[in-house]
Each structure stands twice: as C-alpha cells, then as structure tokens.
Symmetry: C2
Subunit: 418 residues, 2 copies
C-alpha cells in the first residue's frame, strides 16, 4: 500500500467507528476520560522520553526558544493535560438533548435533537498538548477525530495517541475513534482535505498561512480560528478612569492571546484628556506604541504607524493607536481591519454602545469591559476547542455544543402527504 491508500483505509475505519462513538452513553465516554487521566499519569516518564526525542531534533535544527517551549511536555504540562481531561469529564454531555420540538396539525411530532458531527479533522502545528485537548472535546461530544500535527512533534504525538487508544480499548470503545496521520508528509494534508465522504469537519489550529492553505484546498467544511486583530474604542463619553483600567488590561494582561487588544481607537473629543494618561501607563508596562499622525502630537515618543499596523496581530506588548473623528469612523475602521473576533467600546452613553453593538460585525462585542474575556470558560460554556472567527455553524468560543449538529426525528402513525 502506498501512503494514500494507507491514509484512506485509516480514514474509512475512523468513519465506521463514528457510528458507534456517536451513540456511546455519557458514562462510557467518561470512563474513557478516567482511564486516560490515569494512563497519562502512569506513562508520564514515557511521554517525556518521547518528547525529548522531538526536542533534541528541533534543537539540532535550530528552532527558536519559543518554538521549543511550545513543543515541550514537562511534568507540569502533562499535569495540566490531566486536569483538562478531568475537567472535560465534568462537562455536561450535549448529545441527545432535544433543542426544539413541535406537533403539527396532522399529528406528526417533530423533535430536533443534538447529535455528534461524525469525524472531525484537526490540523495543527507543533503543540502536542493540542493532541489531547482537541481529542477529548471531540470524544466527549461523540465525535471521532483524525489528528494531523506538525512533524516536529511526531514522537510526542505518537505516544499520546497510543495512550489514548489504550484508554479507548480499556473502556470498550473502538480505538479507531482517534487516529494520527503520520504518512505522506505535507502532501497528506491536501489529500485528507478531499475526503469529504469520510470527514465531516476540519478545524485548523495555527497560524494564518496554515489556515489559508486549509481553506483554499478543502472540499470539507472548515471552521476557521483566524487571528484576533481586536480593538478597543474609547468614545467621547467614556469614563476616563474606567477606560485606562480596561484598555491596559486588554493589552497587557496576556498579550500573546488572540483576544488581547491590538489597536486602540480614541474619539478626538476625549483624546487630549485621555491619551497622555494612557501613554504613561503603557510606558510603565513596557508597551510599544505605534501611533497615527494626530496621536503623535499627544504621544511624541510613539512610533509612526504604517498601514500594515492596522491589520497586524502583534501578540506582544505593542499597540497601535488612532484618533477618530466619530463613532462611525471607529466602526468602519473595525469592520475594515478587524478579524471579527472581539471588539470593545468604552462609553457612558447607552446609545453609542447600542450603535456599536448593532453595527460592528464580530463574534464578541464588549461595553465597558476588557476584550480578554472572549473564552469558553469565561463565558460559562466550559472548555473550548478554539475561538471561531467564522460566521457559519459556530462563532466565538467553540465548546462541546458547537461540536455537535442535529437530526430531526419525526414520529408518525401513518401520515402521508396529500
């Protein structure tokens, strides 16, 4: 068999397993999660051993420290994985929930019931913790999963998938519920993206170029988790103290996350009072400022922002700042440069907030709060597989419910259509 045939066979097996996995009881899925937690604990040394192989290779090949950090599975990170497994066990099972029902005049009873999607393909980079975190959410929601991780993490991923398969077997669940793509190199990604008969959904997790490749080649529906170029707009009617506190948090509390604010927009009528104080706070916190011409007059030590800055996700202690003439200009700027992720307005004016909520096109809109809250846990949705920047199927934090679809079940007693 060549690699295409091998992959096809594996994908078909996963599809067949999905008919069983979609009907597992919550208890059985939770048994798997229990076994997985204890096996991850039992085999911690083996995981670290295999992970070391990947790390050594990456070091030889001269990867950056940040890259190697993401690749590394130490005891602490494995503990975090085990905690994630236990947390997902506690989440309610979304499968089987009746989400709508009706009885028609002809007596037909119709129910819309949540069901698993089927087979989900996760395409990601060299973060082996994703291997466990994505898989447990898929299984808990009754889906099977095909994993394609970065080649630099191959040994780590292999041992983690082996441990998952062992835990599946011990719980009497088909071990094909989780499969890892190891053959075919980079070509294997484009190949699986054509297998729409067997894979129901693709979730790419990683940088923009990975996601673009997936979107441009996939015949299978894709839910994108693009960059977060998030904005906070300080309106003319903002409470300045509140604005200072919220904007600082949105930028510095954890700048490497997709929901951190990257651009600050300030209404011209409040700029003089607000921006010098804000700039002081940014300086104290080591934030580099890239500013428009008008802002430059108030923050002379700001660097000149280029056109590119307005669409850049820094993921770092850098912020772009622009003074706008009106709320309308702020909204157009966001709709033009934003990535439909998280956008905030700071204002005491209820009408302005309503206008912003109505007219900005994004997954999460904030009034007087930090953009940093866009997160399944913070929203009370439980763990998330990511933040969708798509509008189709799932928008914003994507948790267990968003990993399901529905069926219509129709109960009759001989109804025919006239």
């Amino acid at each position: 068999m060549n690699w295409k045939e091998e992959i096809l066979e594996m994908v078909k097996k996963t599809k067949i397993s999905s008919y069983t996995v979609s009907n597992l009881s919550t208890e059985k899925k939770n048994t798997f999660l229990d076994k997985l937690a204890s096996n991850l604990s039992e085999y911690t040394d083996r995981i670290i051993e295999e992970n070391q192989k990947d790390i050594k290779k990456a070091e030889k090949q001269g990867y950056t420290c940040a890259f190697i950090d993401r690749l590394t599975l130490g005891e602490k990170r494995i503990d975090k994985m085990i905690k994630a497994v236990k947390k997902v066990k506690e989440l309610p099972d979304p499968v089987g929930k009746v989400i709508w029902s009706t009885v028609r005049p002809n007596g037909l009873k119709i129910e819309r019931v949540r069901t698993p999607i089927g087979v989900i393909g996760i395409i990601y980079e060299s973060r082996p913790d994703v291997t466990i975190e994505a898989s447990i959410l898929c299984i808990k929601s009754g889906n099977c999963v095909i994993l394609k991780g970065g080649k630099e993490a191959i040994n780590s991923n292999k041992i983690l998938v082996e441990i998952m398969k062992k835990s599946l077997q011990e719980s009497d669940i088909p071990s094909d519920a989780v499969n890892l793509l190891t053959k075919g190199g980079r070509k294997s990604v484009k190949f699986i993206l054509t297998l729409y008969e067997y894979i129901d959904l693709i979730i790419p997790r990683g940088g923009t170029s990975l996601i673009k490749t997936v979107v441009e080649h996939s015949y299978i529906p894709v839910i994108k988790h693009y960059a977060g170029v998030c904005h906070t707009y300080v309106d003319k009617d903002a409470d300045i103290q509140l604005a200072l506190k919220v904007v600082l948090n949105a930028k510095v509390q954890r700048p490497a996350t997709c929901n951190a604010t990257e651009t600050l927009l300030v209404h011209q009528e409040i700029a003089e009072k607000f921006l010098p104080k804000m700039a002081d706070l940014f300086r104290k916190n080591g934030v580099e400022m890239r500013v428009c011409e008008r802002t430059k007059k108030l923050i002379p030590d700001g660097k000149d922002a280029t056109e590119e800055d307005w669409s850049t996700e820094y993921l770092d202690l850098i912020i772009s700042i622009k003074i706008v003439n009106s709320i309308e200009e702020a909204i157009s700027h966001i709709n033009k440069y934003g990535t439909q992720h998280s956008e905030a307005i700071i204002t005491e004016n209820k009408n302005a907030a309503e206008k912003f909520f109505r007219e900005v096109d994004a997954a999460a809109l904030y009034h007087n709060a930090s953009t940093r809250f866009t997160d399944g846990g913070e929203f009370g949705l439980g763990a998330e597989i990511g933040i969708s920047t798509d509008k189709i199927h799932a928008r914003g934090p994507m948790g267990l419910e968003e990993l399901t679809t529905y069926k219509y079940l129709i109960y009759g007693n001989g109804q025919i259509r006239e």
Copy 2:
C-alpha cells in the same frame, strides 16, 4: 475595467450595503416585500417579454422540454412568486432575537443574539423563480445577496433583479442589497468563490456536478443541497397496511422532489407477505421496479438492480427494492448509499424505531410516516431556501433562522481579567 475588476467592485459594494441591510427594521424589510409584490404584478408583461427571449434562444439551441419548462415564467408562475413574497412578509423576523443569556459571577451580562450572516452568494441553474425566492429569504433575514444564475435565463434574471432593485430603492434600502453576476461567463463562478473577504456564505442550488464544482473551488463556506437518495425501510414488525400506504405516498405523490423515496428496504421476515401487495400498487401507479436477486423471486417482473441503482436519485416513477436480513443491514445500507437527507422506518416495534433513529445518520428520520414531509413548511419553519444535506450550520430544511448567525453582546461596568 475587465470583468474581474467589475465583479470585484460589485461584490465590494454588496458587502458595504450589508452593514446597512443587517440593521434594517422588520417594517422596512416588509415595505420592500410589499413594493416587490406590487412591482412584480405591475411588470408581469415585461417579465414575460424578457423571459420569451430566453425561451426562444433555448428552443433554437435544442434544449429539452423539461428544461424549457423550468425556464418558463408564465402568468401563473409569476403569481406564485408574488404569493411567495407575501408569505415571506408574514414570517417572523429572526434578527435581534436573544437566543441565550447569562450573568457571570464577575457581573458581566452576556447575550447571544441572532444577526444576519452578511453577504450570501446563490449559485443556481436556469430556474428564474429561484432568483426571487432566494433573494426574498436573504433580505428578510437581513442579508445581501449575489446571484449567479444559469446563462440561459439571463434576460429573465436581469428584469427580475431590476424589479428588485427598483423595489429596494422605493423602500429606501441600498439597491446593492441584490446584485446579479452577468460578466465573465463560467469563469465568474470560480472567481467569486475566492472572494472570502466579501462573501460570507455560498449556497449552490442545482445538480450534483454544479455543487461539486462549487465545493471543490470555494474558499468560502458552502452549505450543500445535494441529492436525496432517500430510503424507506419496512421492518419485520411493520403494520403492512400502513406500510403499503406510506411507501406508495413516499414514492408517487411527487416523485421529482428530493424527499421522495428512491429505495425500499424490506426485512426478509415480512418480504413474502408485504412485497407482492406493494408490487401490485406500484404496477397500478406506473412505478418501475429495480430489484435485488431475492426480491426477484417475489416480483418476477422487476428489472435487475445494478450496484449503481442503490446510489441513484431517480426523481421519477422508479424505485429500487432490496430485501435485508436485519435492521442492522438496513441501517448500514442507508449509511453507505444514502445522502443524509430523509430516511424512514415502518414498524410497530418501538425499540427498532429507536435504534433506527439513533444509528442512521441523516437530516430527517421518520417513524411510520412518509419521507415526503421534509420541507420547511411541513415542519412549521416557514419558507425554505432548500434542504441542507450538510451537518455544519444547517441540516435539513433551511429557513430564515438558518440564514442567520449570532453575536455575543457583553455588558460590563469596568470588568478586567485577572
């Protein structure tokens, strides 16, 4: 400007209009529908005149009668359009509805609110009634629409879009809310499928080859409306009288629709009692039977079914018939050959029905009723833009709610993330 530049400009204008259209009041959208109904009535003669140009050309080019029938807009069909416009006016507006809300321990109030998707591209064949029916559902749900119909209907589509634009203007709505692609020929389809910055969703309506082309080339999310290879399974515990009535209806009441049954599966233990009676009814109703070897013994005048028959959507008075050993075999057959559309079981055994409901992977599952009911109107969902055979975003009848997405609106008073 070349055709690509022209299309790009048109698509960008549509996107800009979508920010206005997504915030229109229900009243304003209904005013448009009123104006459209009266303009369609006022300009009936013009529509027929333009449609005649298309028909004459198609006749010259030797298209089939069935094709020309689908292309034709007579007074009756225009009346049907007007009725559809009035019906959509009566449907509730899905936009702005709060579908979930919570207050977090930190005081953040979070609402999930239905919003329009944005710009929807409809790619279809030479049925000019789709031009109106798809557009009115998109506008009522706050979306803008880009239409690409078959070239054979170009004159009909142009006049219909002109009338829609006039009606939009008379209602003070940007006329770019509806645009028709006329340049670039077949290449224009592939081109618009790459414009993911401006178009949010593609809905292809037409034959399998059209849908395949769209799926294989689109960078934009696609919701497919594939063929309906629907099955009715007569279980060993079926009520034979009920089975005869329901199966006949599912096949003959309107065979050209996607929810008509194409394959009849019969449990071996009931085949002898049931199939000869069923065959009599089929013969009386002019239904051609294509049968498996075992069925042949009970229906000697049945044609031999080929492997291809099991995956064929006849859309005609033809049915394929297979005897199965068990409900398990029936379920595997459906999961293998079906198109995840509408599937029925006829049985008095509740456990069998439950098993069928659990294990068959399809949009609509029926117990003791005709597959013909899969329809937005019959489900009480109002008018539909089609029946989705996808699992992502919308499954089964796709009405106004399925033409929306959602936003999270978060109300704070200075919350920051710790």
